[in-house]
Amino acid sequence: MKFLKFLIVGILFGIILVKSEAVSWYRIFEMFKFQSFHMYGIIGSAVGLGILSIYIIKKTKIKNIEGTKIEIPTKDKGFVNYLLGGSIFGLGWALAGACPGPMYILVGTGVFSILLVIAAATLGTFVYGILKDKLPH
């Protein structure tokens, strides 16, 4: 039962991303071509409202359902890993037209060739784990 809420959040997430068309390769292409406001509107409004939400959470000290303080971890300091890792991610994002969330969602839309992308992404994560200590961070 304690996992039911996560299942529901996942279902909502899947529905929202399909209905917003953010799972579409075409929308990602269009975004990187700066030819439509659609994706910028989605990300921009999500972040704008997100900033406000987190500000309110911190200000009002709302507790989570477990009764503890809501902790939002700060990201580790760094530069090269964020810029280089981010750029590598961006190359893949624009080629596959899908980032990790949409990858899973697309399985549900019936495009089973996306399983190949998920398998390759899992392998990519594995190779990063192996090479981690040799890479600049």
């Binding site: 299942l7 529905i15 760094g78």
Partner: protein, 185 residues
Amino acid sequence: MEFILNPWPWYVSGPLITLIMVLLLLFGKNFGMSSNLKTLCTIAGADKYSDFFKIDWRSYKWNLIVVLGAIIGGFIATQFLSNDAPIQLSSETITDLKTLGFVNPGNTLLPPEIYSWDAILTLKGISILCIAGFLVGFGTRYAGGCTSGHAISGLSNLQLPSLIAVIGFFIGGLLMTHFILPLIF
């Protein structure tokens, strides 16, 4: 009902994504989809090869449940909440895609030129999906997050590292879309 069946405008979708992030915070968790790839590696035994994967995957089970839900959500949205209306891409995008050889831009969620079985049963086709997936999986862990972890959660929490990562996302994405895709197609 018409409103549900038609594609949702950005000012509906964006705030709903914030809602997902806030719900997970209220449930004591954080919104981030790419960490599931790491969890999958650990479950498959990657902890034998690198300490990076020595995590208690059970503490991330909740996120795998979110993934399961996302798959179900994708099914529900396409089967019951859609009307097969083509994606309203801008006319410049459609022209550009046709120039690259994409036949019906926006008629389906994903281009058959990349995702159909006919496409992936060629060496070029299978290479595209494998390389794309590998770059996403490698890059996201190197950068410590993806669109949900950095662009949504990180920027909402005003994290400078997330802004650097998002700038990286755009450097890579712009390079691919403007310079590499025209070489591939």
